[in-house]
Amino acid sequence: MKARIVLAFVLTAALLAVSSVWAQSDGGFTVGGGFWSQTNPEAKFLEYRDLPRGGFLADYMLRQFSGSWAGAVWGQTPTRFDQQDAMYLAKGVRWRLDASFNGVPHRFSEVARSPYVQTSTGVFTLSDSLQRQIQNLTQSAANPSQNRTLQELLRNSPGVALAIQTDVTKVRLRGRPMKDWQFEVRGSDRERSGSQAMGTTEGGPGGPTVELPAPIDQRTLDVDASATYAHGPARVMVTLGLSNFKNRIEAIRFDNFRVFNSDTTRSVVNQMAAAPDNNLLRGRIVGSWQLPYASTFTATIGVSQTTQKQDFLPMTVNPFQLAKYGSTGLLDLERGNLDGKVTDVVQDYRLTGRPFANFYGTLRFRQEKMDDQTPTLGLPNGFINYDQGWSRGAVESEAASNTKTIYGLDADYSLGKRADVSILVEGRQRELPDWREVTKDAEGILGGKLTLRPLDNLDASVGYQYGQRRMDSFILDAYDGAEWPLFRRYDVADRNQSKLNGEISWSPVEKLDLSVSGWWSKDDYPNSTWGLQSVDNTQVFGEGTVHAVRNLDLSGGFGYGLQKSDQASIENGTSVVADTTARAPWTANLEDKSVYAFARADWWAKSRKLQVTADYTFTRDMQTYDFSNYWIRSAAGILPAATTTAIDLPSDLYRMNDAALTAKWHYSPQFDLGCTYGYTQYDVADALYQNIPYVNVNPTNAGSAATAIFLGNGKLNYTAHRFQVFATRRF
């Protein structure tokens, strides 16, 4: 697919280039060669890009014009996985055809290994001998030498690339064939393939876990057509579209590594359902009218329907379980697929205008209604989380409809040349599924902003917004049967939200621009005894540009972000008891700190023939954990503790220094030569993601050990150097 698309772009470029019908043309291309090295194969270096070792075509562009005809083809790195190609062909302003192709790689890990062998797409098998070894290890988990041996064995398992590639092709034809009319047809084809880590459990004591390099092979096709009619004060736009998602992988099946010499309660092959195919049909009609007082009223109604009829995977269970409980009909399903159907209706009405000179305002109303019409599926005898674990008792699937209504007023009033004031008044209402613990809530928001321009070269603004969300009631029965009555899930909990932002831009002299912006927000959950208590966000960003001398530009910026979240919870080792006093409360306060800094210097030799650019970027993310608990969890149960026994997780660090030096020699208006040297240093400290074992055994839980087979795809430090030479030719 990709090769065909790239070929199409090349052929178009060639056609444009050789065609004699064009009266005028311009364009250019850059070619070069490069080399890079990296001390550790950490995927972050190439996360979203593809650096070539050897020759490359960096960019190309060709434009041609003749009378009312125009065409262009351009792109970047067309021979690589991270490429972008685009073209247009236009006749006057009546017809224009655009096409583009984007290749986006996403690399997750270059060091993953798996003992599983994929015998066919999505089917993973594990050799009997390995199953036996892992199972023996599980049953004697305290034996470190055995553990080491198996780690070594798995370390030599075949490597698996964890990466996906997304290729997106888009086409758009726009026509204005007659006065007042505009038509547009858009299509896109999104192909995604590769593999990514996916975990699952085989259930049972300790919850043994398996991580697999799950294959991805998906395609999404979208087509939309719209027509706009504009005449006098009225405009109408109608859009119709459809989308089809096709997953070429229906299921992931894998051997249970505990089955080899286990009892009959183990399943042999586990299976997971992959994302189901779906279809979406959508339509939208928009009407807009120009009204007196420079006002415009626009009404939008959009309707879409998503359907999903992927066949269910068959229910499976270990025959031992079936015999044990003597259940009949456990594996029968009412129907073979979900017959899922969701209808979304969105209404949006806005009246914007300037009823008098200094005032600009918008009245708006909006409702998003998601109606899940999927019929429920009953499982009268329960379900089978894992083949050996039958959860008895009737269950029924539940539709997840919701409705959101937002209405408000935005108003801006100019106090003259030097100041503006804005206000925001907004109401929000939600209706949530009737099986959630909160079925309705409402939020009121009030905000204001003051913008000042005290000097021609100085702009400043400050804004504040406050919102209060309250639920109508809390239905304990709907909360998974019975959970803590004072616990609130944060997406539906009562919330007070404050936001404050400010910005100053100043150009004290013509050669200097400075700006500083800051943003702070706080979400408070005042009625949550347990659950998320608060989230506090602060961000500051400053930037400056100096045109120091005629041939030197300097720019730089620095940003700092801090997010603090506090949550409280309560631990209950065994069963659900709606009792908040005799359990084990704990708190976790997390802090994320982010730093982003960049600096750039552009220097030109006096002859303007030589240009040297230096770029430096620094990013650092750091998370710290602060835990406390007031009770001890032990084998004997939960006991009161004299002091906090929780031990904080070590802080995480993700730090990158990236520097590049580029020199360009402008030999002539048509020809440039250049070279780039780049250096990257990446440091990681993340206890949860580093040193991930290939086989994980919980040594304190021998016998019913929580065993896991991971992919070993831990984060790595690295240092990388890259060097490129390139030449640009323009015509």
């Binding site: 699952t200 997840a400 993700y654």
Partner: protein, 305 residues
């Protein structure tokens, strides 16, 4: 006193100049683009390579003689000034980059009133007095092939000129492939306004996210209610410090909602990590509950298969 005199004189002078200019503007007539070319050769040459230039060659699209003057207004008074900046007629030519944003935008909206620009009047940019020419340059665009007449090489660079704090979000360890050859701000947002929140290119946030992540579209047999309502309950779309752009790290993210009994309720601290608890290391809860966006397996109620 003396200062007051000069100030009054300056005010009077400029008022007279404005009156003269407005009269000249009212009297100006169309001269045609060929006339403009005589003095503005460079601008005219580039203009011809843009869609605006093609409008002139497109038969009945524009009335006779319209071209440069479609945007710059009738030019006879400007031409008659003969390049004399002191002549009141010289300043009668309209320069959108020097005009108030709403007046400058009205010129552009005369033609660009459908498709992408349908919602402009209701957009946050219009409200903030952003002019079309703040982002677009008709005569000196920098984007490849001048296909969108942007003032910068790419959309993201252009957006970051004002939306500076997004530098910080995009620099975080988990972010979308924005920049380079991947995505641009423009893939999710329509800077000209839209019917969706935050000027997104969809009617709802869910519709936007699911347009690329169609595998999460479902509907699923077993739905995770917050997932079905809003992706942003758990993800930060512009970047976060946590893998998959989560707003916090599992298991603490999951603990914010799940606190009933057994393993969802337990605090996962260093002891758990040292003893190799699979609920803590690697993807934590998602090591097992990987189908967290919904499961279509008859036994997928707990999102493990």
């Amino acid at each position: 006193m003396r200062r007051g005199f000069w100030l009054s004189a300056a005010l009077l002078g400029s008022s007279l100049l404005m009156v003269a200019a407005s009269q000249a503007l009212a009297e100006s007539t169309l001269v045609g683009s060929e006339t403009c070319k005589d003095c503005h050769q460079k601008e005219y040459a580039q203009y011809l390579t843009t869609s605006h230039g093609r409008a002139q060659t497109d038969g009945a699209t524009l009335p006779e003689k319209m071209g440069c003057e479609t945007c710059h207004g009738a030019g006879s008074a400007h031409v008659n000034a003969g390049g004399d900046a002191k002549d009141p007629g010289f300043a009668t030519i309209q320069r959108p980059d020097k005009m108030a944003a709403d007046k400058a935008n009205a010129i552009c909206l005369g033609c660009h009133k459908g498709g992408e620009q349908f919602y402009w009047q209701h957009s946050a940019h219009a409200r903030q007095n952003v002019a079309c020419v703040t982002c677009h340059s008709i005569h000196n665009s920098q984007d490849p092939a001048h296909a969108k007449l942007l003032k910068k090489e790419n959309t993201t660079e252009l957006c970051l000129t004002c939306h500076k704090s997004n530098h910080l979000a995009m620099g975080k360890s988990a972010h979308m492939p924005v920049g380079g050859n991947g995505m641009t701000c423009n893939d999710c947002h329509n800077p000209h306004g839209s019917a969706g929140p935050r000027q997104i290119r969809a009617l709802t946030t869910m519709e936007l996210c699911l347009s690329c992540h169609a595998d999460k579209r479902g509907p699923f047999l077993w739905e995770h209610a917050p997932v079905r309502e809003n992706c942003l309950t758990c993800h930060d779309q512009h970047g976060s410090n946590y893998t998959r752009m989560l707003v916090s790290r599992p298991p603490f993210l999951c603990n914010r909602c799940h606190d009933a009994s057994r393993h969802p309720s337990q605090l996962r601290d260093l002891t758990d990590l040292q003893t190799g608890a699979v609920t803590t290391m690697n993807r934590s809860c998602l090591n097992c509950h990987s189908q967290i966006h919904g499961s279509n397996h008859p036994s997928g109620k707990m999102f493990v298969r």
